[in-house]
Symmetry: C2
Subunit: 449 residues, 2 copies
């Protein structure tokens, strides 16, 4: 193993204790076990990141950039002998420009903290991954994270105006701008969004903000006799032309997992639940009408923000509840929204075929599903039946005109399937672009595509 000889003095700290480093070697993707890093850098400035990168470049040491470690595809897990550069300590919101509706946040700022900071000025930062209380803006950029509100407001990509980026050799560049529009040159900002730390290390993010709604949305929750009719309700809402502020679907097994962790009174007849929001009471009434028409047992409409938060807490607890139930293999497929009922039907069939528990929740308004394959906590390696069932779920999504990953990224977990979605010519372009940015292939090698 290489030594840290000549490693630069940083404002931040450098960890080398194996027990301490172990916590930085994995993310929330249970199937991917991190290897042993050489060191963990807790960077405090962009210059820290640049100095650490330059040292790694000179010594041919692999770098794994890391935000909050909440990723679900293993993209932030350690590679043997790498230097992990953690952005977690770079958590300052450096500017909130109210007049021009943008903010500049260091990469380690927690998503919900940024939103709270700008809400104080009547603004909002819309993209809200389910993990918004623990995930960081830099990680959101790395994966082009989605979230619950994205059905109305769009994903991370649509809010990133500019970036400060450290290149693998330690040079610092700035991409993008602070203006609403701008087309000078190639859009390197957009190329970096979703690149999973393979092209550069994002240290600061300039994000577009929106005015926060003055009136809170109206929430509609409904219980369904089966998941396919709930999915059909989603497609029906899309067809009305109303854009919901949020539309989340949970199947029976998801509800049972949440009930086991934090009981909320799950009823026997409820085989699926939809939670929608309309930005106006009229929009919410349309949601309620379509939910009823699709066969809901009952529909609850509420304009009380506290009650809405309680209903959404059930949804936001889903992932944690899955982790409680076992080791998890988290999928993230997307399908055209009209294919949601068919996709849910196929997941049920695959679950039965392999005898694998696959609770599924969905950002249904976006056609983005999280089928989550659960295997016993005792099993360190992913059982073959899980791989086989996961493969069939992916293939089903592709066959329905969908995608391998809607918002989690490829990471390590899904790398084997990328060639099913991207052609060899497209992958050749990927390798070329990677070589331009990272000629020594030191930055999160093997991840992202």
């Amino acid at each position: 193993m290489a030594s840290l000889e000549g490693f630069p003095q940083l404002t931040g700290s450098v960890l080398t204790d194996p027990d301490v480093m172990a916590a930085y070697a994995v993310d929330h993707c249970s199937p991917v076990h991190g290897a042993v890093p050489l060191a963990v850098v807790l960077a405090e400035t962009t210059e820290d990141v640049a100095a650490a990168a330059a040292w790694c470049y000179a010594h041919d040491v692999v770098i794994v950039p890391r935000g909050a470690g909440s990723g679900l595809a293993g993209g932030a897990s350690a590679i043997e002998g790498c230097v992990i550069i953690s952005l977690a300590k770079m958590n300052a919101v450096k500017e909130i420009n109210v007049a021009d509706q943008y903010a500049i946040a260091e990469a380690g700022v927690i998503n919900a903290d940024l939103d709270r900071a700008v809400r104080a000025h009547g603004l909002m930062y819309p993209p809200d991954p389910s993990s918004f209380e623990i995930c960081s803006i830099g990680g959101n950029v790395a994966t082009n994270a989605g979230g619950l509100r994205c059905v109305m407001y769009g994903v991370t990509r649509e809010y990133v105006l500019g970036l400060t980026v450290v290149l693998p050799d330690g040079r610092i560049i700035r991409t993008g701008r602070r203006t609403v529009k701008g087309v000078t040159g190639y859009d390197l900002t957009q190329l970096l969004v979703g690149s999973e730390g393979t092209l550069g290390i994002v240290t600061e993010v300039t994000v577009k903000l929106r005015p926060a709604p003055v009136v809170p949305p109206t929430t509609v929750a409904a219980s369904f006799p089966d998941v396919v009719s709930a999915a059909a309700a989603v497609a029906a809402v899309v067809g009305t032309g109303v854009v919901p502020a949020l539309m989340e679907l949970m199947d029976r097994r998801t509800l049972e997992c949440v009930e086991a962790l934090r009981p909320f009174g799950l009823e026997d007849e409820t085989r699926a639940m939809l939670i929608g929001q309309g930005s106006t009471p009229a929009d919410a009434a349309v949601l309620a009408r379509e939910f009823d028409a699709a066969g809901a047992h009952y529909t609850v409409v509420s304009d009380d923000p506290v009650e809405a938060a309680e209903l959404l807490a059930v949804r936001r607890a889903a992932f944690h509840a899955y982790e409680h139930a076992g080791n998890i293999f988290s999928e993230d497929v997307g399908v055209p929204r009209s294919q949601l009922p068919e996709m849910f039907a196929r997941i049920e069939a695959i679950s039965a075929k392999y005898g694998v528990d696959i609770p599924t929740c969905a950002h249904a308004g976006d056609g983005n599903l999280h089928p989550t394959l659960i295997y016993p906590k005792g099993e360190r390696e992913v059982p073959q039946a899980i791989w086989d069932a996961a493969d069939e779920v992916f293939q089903a999504a592709l066959a329905l005109g969908g995608t391998l990953t809607g918002e989690h990224g490829v990471g390590v977990l899904k790398a084997r399937w990328v060639g099913e979605e991207l052609s060899e010519d497209v992958l050749e372009l990927h390798r070329g672009i990677k070589a331009v940015w990272d000629p020594k292939n030191l930055l999160n090698p093997g991840r992202g595509f």
Copy 2:
């Protein structure tokens, strides 16, 4: 000059008559005079484009891809001895998927035709450049075109889900997807948007659609005693948190140019005009209130779509009116919206300093201005005073935190200024990316950055 020996048989036609080709050698950028092409290909299929590109690749012949030729930066003008590949005949809307709210359009489809086609299904295609009746979707993608409605709905980039692209050697690739979300691999789609035909030739575009508003927007027009107070009104509206459906500003000289072309009753006291739209009457009332508070002479509010169309026709006529007034050097700077009053003040000062007529209109809600420097029609070459004044306008925008081009692209006209906005390290990445896609530098060389 090279011959066309061995040029493939196409479904479309190949033009070589110099007089006929002359019409394809220029776009709407008067300062850029097209050179003489070898041939013009009127492609009818993606395979036509691929075959023509493969021949050019084998013979080291430069390609200039061309949409409707409505570009304002010279990006579609001919290069000596090039083959122009026109997408104008590829103008079919191949699919409108109502359930999943997307459409697939060939690159030559006219923007407004696409919008009309989907409106028949209750949907809309939001990005609407002022030239929407003559510009094509492929050209919109090449420049990441903006438009009037973009202040509420966003620019072209936010509506492009996937592309069919011919690489310089004739290979055909598909990027992106039909789903709302998707993060598999690098976002080549987003890299291609705004790349001005330098990386690949876009032949088909999958676009995201939105439900069309059921209630037409309410229009608010106001006359101001000076352009700076009108610009201040824009900043004030942004500060209210209301997102206007549209907010356009015209200075006195713009109004005079339009009045000369198609009289609409311009009054002496009107030194600037703002046209805004609110998606609800309540939003429109906020616009009217802020316009009044900023010192408007009078404010007209109308919910009549015919009257709204007439008011907007004044704005949409601006560019044609500029062309009527002389040869034009069209700028396209963007500034943070709070800097709009200062930017307008600087343009007035630069106009006076150089004695150059610079009528300016603006997608004011986006901070995107079109200062248009006019010089006599008799002058074939751009006078030095125009270059000098244009340079000062660009420098002013950069100094205010802005950008060289908000939506028109760099093309040929602005190439000299790119290095003022992008660093050498960033430009090095541009050159690297260009070389990956176009190793022989045959595709619109020298344009875009």
